[in-house]
């Protein structure tokens, strides 16, 4: 084993006032020339570990060593650190930010021009050197953050979720950039909540709730489940019902919808159920596919939830109609000179899932807020459950359940108080309210947190509570803004089980996500990029646009973004 540039051993950190340790006896090495992945959902302890390596937090126990010395007393000029918010001064231009970090890291003046030229070329920021960092797009900020961290070639590069929320093209470019740099013998620690990025790392440490679940090459982990992941083609009608049956089968521990197919994971040493038992024709075949890191993670956590959603079981049946449940007709929204959403149009029939996909800042949330009646469109019309947003805003709002991006409940109220408040806000009468609240507590396992302030719960429970509050009044239409952002894959599965179940009851769901693979769960999805819809269709149609077989949704998006960028440049 090559000499590690940094390593941690038995690292433990507990923050005051918190029951669980943020890091619990973690050990790992970061070797030169390699990409080391630090993977896990939000709250797993990734940031804490990186900050300890950057010498910004003192561990309670164990040691963190960088270049052979304690992390807090090492040569900081050889560490490149990019915090989650990039650490850029927004009032300073691109070149001023670079100069600042060059001086702080002690880059010799003679090397300065060469280093700047190389990094600006690399990040394609040469055209924008005089632009203020605050005026850059998310992807460009991230590249500048990386350039600042690398301005004096470091020996250790610490990147805290460098790719979160940016478009997949920028994400891929960034990865390639860092990968090339690692080739120069730099030890890179790349933290991420995107599990697909873990597959590409040389070695991975998987964290969950402060504990190390796995450390080693990602391949070794996925190899353990190599014959257990299966693909099953299903008719698009009723695929959610078949998934539910499959997940309720004891032989299957995880499953997701993938366009017109299901992806299922078998329990170890178990034969797959017969297609007939899932309600399929006898000709249907299971096909073994390449396992992904996410499958392995779920396997480590002991498998996903069962297929039946208790929430859906108790939900009222939404009556069938021919009228579309959600209509957006040329919706635009401008803020001054800036167009946040440009002529967005789609229509969602009752009982379907429609996805709005795109990077942060693309216009997903703006479109969302217009349809919720929270933002008045500059142009265009929309309706929800048959109520026009313009003339019947209050009725439209009453017929939808809204789960906002990030946690937007009352953090200083207890869980029960939040539920009571939302029951009241949606106008539930006493008896109904009590019943709805008790049922939510049961379904979402909120008992142990009832008296605690909502802000102190783990992220997964916050998201559960947010969903519980959004569906208390059993609305026919559900709007979910990034519902699964940052949660672990088990909670993600649980959410989709609920959503699938509700859709079978006739609920119409509009969901935004920056996880491209979640588009697979949708009946139809639209890709939004720089305020415009660049493609709309079923998941399989969208993937076909990538122009290659077996493409992932991300490939499709990248192909479309490239085409759109070319078009824009030509215009």
């Amino acid at each position: 084993m090559a000499d590690a540039v940094a390593s941690v051993h038995g690292l433990t950190k507990r923050f005051s006032g918190q029951e669980k340790a943020a890091l619990d006896k973690i050990s790992m090495d970061i070797e030169p020339g390699k990409m080391t992945g630090l993977v896990g959902p939000d709250g797993a302890g990734k940031t804490t570990l990186i900050r300890i390596l950057a010498g910004l937090i003192d561990p309670d126990a164990g040691e963190a060593t960088v270049f052979g010395r304690a992390a807090t007393a090492t040569d900081r000029s050889m560490i490149g650190y990019m915090p989650q918010r990039f650490g850029l001064y927004e009032d300073l231009s691109v070149i001023e930010n670079l100069r600042l970090y060059a001086d702080l890291r002690g880059l010799p003046p003679a090397d300065r021009q060469a280093s700047f030229d190389r990094l600006l070329d690399f990040t394609d920021l040469k055209r924008f050197t005089d632009r203020l960092a605050g005026k850059l797009s998310g992807g460009m900020k991230q590249k500048l953050g990386l350039a600042c961290a690398m301005v004096r070639a470091p020996k250790l590069l610490l990147l805290d979720e460098p790719s979160v929320g940016v478009d997949p093209l920028s994400r891929r470019e960034l990865w390639q950039m860092v990968k090339d740099l690692a080739g120069d013998g730099i030890g890179v620690l790349w933290s991420t909540a995107y599990l697909d990025e873990a597959e590409k790392c040389d070695t991975v440490t998987l964290l969950s709730e402060g504990k190390g679940l796995y450390a080693g090459p990602p391949q070794a982990l996925t190899d353990k489940i190599c014959n257990r992941v299966l693909r099953l083609a299903v008719p698009s009608e009723g695929r959610r019902v078949i998934l539910q049956r499959a997940l309720d089968d004891p032989a299957i521990i995880d499953g997701t919808v993938q366009g017109d197919a299901l992806r299922l994971m078998l329990k170890a040493n178990t034969a797959p159920p017969t297609p007939q038992s899932l309600g399929l024709k006898s000709g249907s075949l299971f096909e073994t596919v390449q396992p992904r890191f996410e499958d392995a993670f779920i396997d480590l956590l002991g498998g996903g939830p069962s297929g039946t959603s208790q929430l859906a079981e108790h939900y009222r049946k939404i009556a069938a109609t021919d009228a579309p449940a959600i209509v957006a007709d040329g919706l635009s929204r401008r803020f001054g000179d800036f167009t946040a959403a440009d002529l967005v149009s789609f229509s969602v029939p009752r009982g379907q899932i429609f996805g709005l996909l795109g990077p942060n800042g693309a216009g997903k949330s703006t479109t969302f807020k217009m349809l919720c009646g929270l933002l008045t469109p500059s142009e265009g019309r929309g309706s929800v459950a048959g109520f026009d947003l313009h003339s019947a805003k209050a009725d439209a709002r009453q017929s939808l359940g809204y789960m906002a991006q990030k946690f937007s409940l009352y953090g200083d109220l207890s869980v029960r108080q939040n539920l009571n408040f939302f029951a009241g806000a949606y106008g539930l009468k006493n008896g109904d309210a009590r019943e709805a609240i008790e049922r939510s507590i049961e379904i979402f396992h909120l008992h142990r947190y009832l008296k605690e302030n909502a802000s102190t719960m783990p992220l997964g429970f916050k998201q559960r509570l947010a969903l519980a509050c959004a569906v208390l009044h059993q609305p026919p239409v559900l709007f979910l803004d990034e519902p699964t952002s940052g949660v672990d894959p088990i909670v993600r599965r649980e959410f989709w089980t609920h959503i699938n179940g509700l859709v079978e009851k006739g609920v119409t769901v509009l969901v935004t996500t920056h996880f491209m693979d979640e588009a697979e769960y949708c009946d139809r999805a639209t890709l939004i990029y720089r305020a415009r819809q660049i493609a709309t269709g079923t998941p399989d149609e969208l993937k076909a646009l990538a122009g290659k077989a077996d493409a992932k949704m991300e490939d499709a998006f990248i192909a479309l973004i490239k085409a759109s960028n070319l078009q824009r440049e030509a215009a």
């Binding site: 937090i57 900081r76 000029s77 915090p83 001064y89 009032d91 001023e96 702080l104 002690g106």
Partner: protein
């Protein structure tokens, strides 16, 4: 550890801070617009000089003496007699707040004067104590003057046994503006030194930039120094601007030397900046920092420094507290340097106190600024 002072890093941070000051409109707002506002408010808005008081006059005697005294009130520059009539009628005017006092010249006043005495009654509105005592005192003064003049007219040789010859030094016209404007410059320096400084570091914590900076070799001393130097200069610019305005626009005399003003201001900025640094290091949050800076910095400067309210007339326990307010040691210096002149025997002990506070605050600030998160 490369915590040793490095001029290159320091220079880079200084450039960064200066660019931020120039480019951030909110910084300039706090450093220049807010001080102007304060200066004009104290220069024009707040005024302790007595205006003409609106009073009622109840003349119940028709002797020549009574009419003469009533005439004196009516022509006085201190009073504005808006109403005459019966006391009952006037008292309802006073209840309504249209007049602030009633002068009653009672029946038989002329006869009493003839005997060598003469009582009048002064009723004032005690709900406004300042005005009430002014009216009482001025009415008495006016009566005495009237009596003296009358005696003189008659040729009666009975001059008052003692005459007071009052001279108000330094501020002969007793214009409150003369001491309020120099005092408000102290408030301005508190705003820039404490409030603004506390905001800028808290802002770096909030935006996550400090996290990135702390992971570089930059030393904590360099970090603190780059926050001190630009805001020290900014505060001096602000102070100079206000002083020039004070002298030109508000006509406040400047009898000391510019050098003394500079030295005084600089010694005050030492604790002011230290307090700002300490607050931001301890709170790490712009909102909390601004509240703490207002309550612990600006409010004591306004209320407990002797700027508006005289410390000697405060209750003893409050007076004791004022010794903990750094601006208490600045106000007398500012007022002296403007309206009296350079008096180093007054300046020096105050400066020693300010420097002492400066060391205390800087010690606390350095202790609270750690290269650690959480």
């Amino acid at each position: 550890m490369s915590d040793k002072f490095n001029p290159r890093r320091f220079g880079a941070m200084l450039v960064k801070e200066s660019l931020q000051i120039v480019r951030d409109p909110s910084t300039l707002l706090i450093a220049f617009v807010l001080p102007m506002l304060l200066l004009f408010m104290f220069g024009y808005g707040v005024n302790f000089d007595t205006p003409r008081s609106r009073i009622g006059l109840s003349l119940q005697d028709n002797s020549e003496a009574a009419k003469s005294l009533a005439g004196s009130f009516q022509s006085s520059r201190w009073f504005d007699v808006v109403e005459t009539g019966a006391v009952s009628q006037l008292s309802s005017e006073m209840v309504a707040g249209r007049i602030r006092g009633i002068i009653v010249i009672p029946h038989g006043f002329g006869r009493q004067v003839a005997w060598g005495s003469g009582d009048i009654q002064v009723l004032t509105d005690g709900s406004m104590p300042n005005t009430a005592s002014f009216i009482g005192a001025y009415a008495e003064g006016l009566r005495a003057t009237w009596a003296g003049a009358r005696a003189g007219d008659r040729g009666t040789t009975r001059p008052p046994p003692i005459r007071t010859a009052a001279r108000f030094w330094f501020n002969p016209e007793l214009k409150s503006r003369y001491f309020l404007v120099p005092g408000s410059i102290a408030a301005v320096m508190t705003i820039v030194g404490t409030l603004l400084t506390s905001l800028v570091i808290a802002r770096e914590w909030e935006r996550g930039t400090l996290e990135a900076i702390m992971a570089t070799p930059v030393g904590m001393i360099e970090l603190i120094a780059t926050k001190v130097v630009p805001y020290f200069l900014l505060a001096l610019v602000s102070m100079t601007l206000c002083s020039v305005l004070a002298i030109t626009v508000f006509g406040v005399p400047f009898r000391g030397s510019p050098l003394a003003l500079l030295v005084i201001s600089s010694t005050f900025l030492f604790p002011a900046l230290g307090q700002g640094l300490w607050i931001s290091a301890a709170t790490k949050n712009q909102f909390v920092a601004s509240q703490v800076a207002l309550v612990s910095g600006l409010l004591p400067t306004l209320l407990l420094s002797g700027f508006i309210f005289e410390i000697n007339s405060m209750p003893k326990p409050i007076q004791a507290i004022t010794y903990l307010v750094p601006s208490r040691y600045l106000i007398p210096q500012m007022q002296t340097v403007f309206i009296a002149g350079d008096d180093w025997s007054l300046f020096l002990p105050n400066m020693v106190m300010l420097i002492g506070f400066g060391f205390l605050f800087f010690f606390l600030a350095v202790r609270a600024t750690k290269r650690r998160i959480a």
